[in-house]
């Protein structure tokens, strides 16, 4: 019954904890340089001057990177295509390059080029997500 159900959930959370990368063994300075000169301009282009106040914080440097990975690649209701944006791919490459043992997120890079490009729709939810990312990256840049 219920005890079995809760036990399964507990086991799944343990597995997730084990499988989640902790971003402790990373070249934080290199990641910070890439963020300042490459990722940050891309995020500003995406958000296009729309700034939203967020209360999302991260305390430790690995905590910031965990949350950055979460908000960058985890699809959520209302914003499912953020992982295909340029800044998301750059974030994936940055974390793969700067953190030993991090395999990165498998993003399908090969796409069929169409004559008419389908424009990505920037939903409000996606803009909100990017605002979170900007704040997390800013926090990471300050404490690293």
């Amino acid at each position: 019954g219920f005890p079995i159900f809760f036990r399964k959930i507990f086991i799944l959370q343990l597995v997730e904890l084990v499988l989640t990368y902790n971003f402790t063994d990373c070249d934080f300075k290199n990641i910070k340089d890439i963020y300042q000169d490459v990722i940050h301009p891309e995020l500003n282009v995406y958000i296009n001057g729309v700034s939203e106040e967020t209360f999302l914080k991260c305390i430790f440097i690995p905590d910031c990177l965990i949350k950055i990975e979460h908000f960058t690649f985890k699809p959520i209701y209302g914003c499912a295509s953020l992982a295909k944006e340029t800044f998301a791919k750059q974030t994936n490459a940055t974390l793969s390059l700067g953190c030993s043992g991090y395999s990165g997120i498998q993003i399908n890079n090969t796409q069929t080029m169409k004559k008419r490009r389908k424009r990505e729709v920037k939903t409000d939810k996606c803009l909100e997500q990017v605002s979170y990312l900007i704040e997390l990256w800013r926090r990471f840049s300050r404490i690293s």
């Binding site: 340089d33 890439i34 300042q36 000169d37 490459v38 301009p41 891309e42 282009v45 340029t86 791919k89 750059q90 490459a93 940055t94 390059l97 890079n109 090969t110 796409q111």
Partner: protein, 459 residues
């Protein structure tokens, strides 16, 4: 078979280890270079056309036969795995937005499908900025310097924004004597004192990435700008207009000092510090044009042999005239008494001034002395036309002393008469008169001086 296989394996292994990979990159990542004939170098230019980046590669040896040669880049790309270069006049270019700008890429020289040589390059480490442009030099006279400004397209770019600029300038006649200065901004001040005056200078600028992440090479030099330095380079040199003003002021002051010294005694000092009149000298001045053989003296003893008529109080002009015309006008006593009683002032008498009325006398002077002795002579304004003759005066009648008009402050009662006037003919006893004169003169000498000074003022 097993030993043979092992031997072959070792041979192949050794061959692979010795052969290695070709590669020399401009950033110096690789020391060895395989296939030196096909060695090449590349540089990248980010956002050169909007958001598109440009990657340019070329063989190091311009004489290499590049027919059928192609370049290909793989890795660190967005959405694709590999991209091919375009060939243009011996160089290979690729313009695309698909550079990831993170991580290394592999660039290979291909002959058909065969890779002749490959290099691992990082696009962000071979960045060559665009050349600066619009360089200007403006001379600032007030600051004695030259303001150098230039522009760069990287100010509006998204990625490589921070650059280090190198400014080089030289005097045109010194061909290889370039001066270099590094700066991170697009404005520079050149001090005038560090440049030669009245000389032509050439100046140019180039840039290189100056960020923690992007690295690369110097850009091409900007177009040169030529300017000429002003002639005067002496900070201590004065403005000519100011110099003229200073010289004129100096000479004006010197001229004023000279004039002041020259005119001090005669003009300036009397105005600033007027001297009190000397009564003797005043009277002497009155007798400026003495006649011959005239001695002016106020010594009473000089008049001992003169008939002096004592004047009692103030006499009017008319009475004096009448006295001159008539030896003993009878109405004179009455008029005199009236005057003495009624006061001193008449319609013709000046109220403010004290002096001798020239109209009081006509004709010859009644004041006659011995020849050579005269007390009141031809003074300006005085009616005496000639010196009196005491001897003649004694014969013709009474003598008339000059008429003295007193000021408004004096009354007949307060002022003792100098020479008390007595009606009738007065014939002076020289001895007695002399003594009385001396006495009266001694007592009223001060009044005489005061009165005479007043007369002088009136003149």
């Amino acid at each position: 078979m097993t030993p043979l296989g092992i031997a072959l394996g070792m041979v192949f292994y050794l061959l692979q280890a010795v052969s290695g990979e070709s590669g020399y990159a401009e950033n110096g990542d690789f020391d060895d270079a395989e296939m030196d004939d096909y060695s090449f170098s590349c540089y990248s230019q980010l956002e050169v056309d909007g958001s598109q980046h440009l990657l340019t590669c070329a063989f190091d040896d311009p004489d290499v036969n590049s027919t059928n040669m192609e370049f290909e880049i793989c890795g660190a790309l967005l959405e694709v795995d590999c991209l091919s270069f375009n060939k243009l006049q011996g160089m290979y270019l690729i313009k695309t937005k698909k550079f990831l700008l993170i991580g290394d890429s592999k660039i290979c020289v291909k002959l058909g499908r065969k890779s002749m040589t490959c290099k691992k390059m990082n696009i962000v480490k071979i960045v060559k900025p665009e050349a600066p442009f619009d360089i200007r030099v403006v001379y600032r006279k007030g600051a004695n310097d030259f303001e150098v400004t230039f522009n760069t397209s990287h100010l509006q770019k998204k990625y490589v924004k921070e650059l280090m600029h190198e400014v080089a300038y030289r005097q045109e006649k010194n061909e290889n004597d370039w001066m270099h200065m590094n700066l991170s901004s697009t404005k520079l001040m050149l001090l005038q004192r560090k440049l030669q005056p009245n000389a032509m200078y050439e100046i140019k600028v180039r840039s290189i990435p100056n960020t923690n992440y992007f690295e690369g090479f110097w850009s091409e030099w900007s177009p040169s700008f030529h300017f000429r330095t002003p002639e005067t380079n002496d900070p201590g040199e004065m403005d000519p207009v100011l110099l003229i003003i200073i010289i004129l002021s100096f000479f004006s002051v010197a001229l004023m000092l000279v004039l002041a010294c020259v005119l001090w005694e005669k003009r300036i000092k009397p105005i600033i510090w007027p001297s009190l009149p000397d009564h003797k000298k005043t009277l002497e001045q009155l007798c400026k044009k003495p006649k011959k053989n005239l001695n002016v003296s106020f010594n009473p003893e000089s008049f001992l042999d003169c008939q002096i008529h004592k004047v009692d109080g103030i006499q009017a002009r008319d009475e004096a005239e009448g006295f001159l015309q008539d030896p003993l006008p009878p109405q004179l006593e009455e008029s005199e008494k009236q005057r003495l009683g009624g006061g001193m002032q008449g319609p013709n008498w000046p109220s403010e001034h004290v002096g001798i009325s020239p109209k009081s006398f006509k004709g010859e002077s009644s004041f006659r002395c011995l020849a050579g002795n005269i007390s009141v002579c031809d003074a300006p304004g005085l009616p005496f036309s000639r010196s009196p003759d005491c001897k003649e005066g004694g014969k013709n009648g009474p003598l008339l002393y000059q008429d003295l008009l007193l000021g408004p402050g004096t009354t007949n009662s307060t002022l003792p008469p100098l020479f008390p006037f007595q009606p009738g003919t007065l014939t002076l006893n020289p001895a007695a008169q002399g003594q009385s004169i001396l006495t009266s003169l001694g007592s009223s000498q001060e009044e005489a001086y005061v009165t005479m000074s007043s007369f002088y003022q009136n003149q």
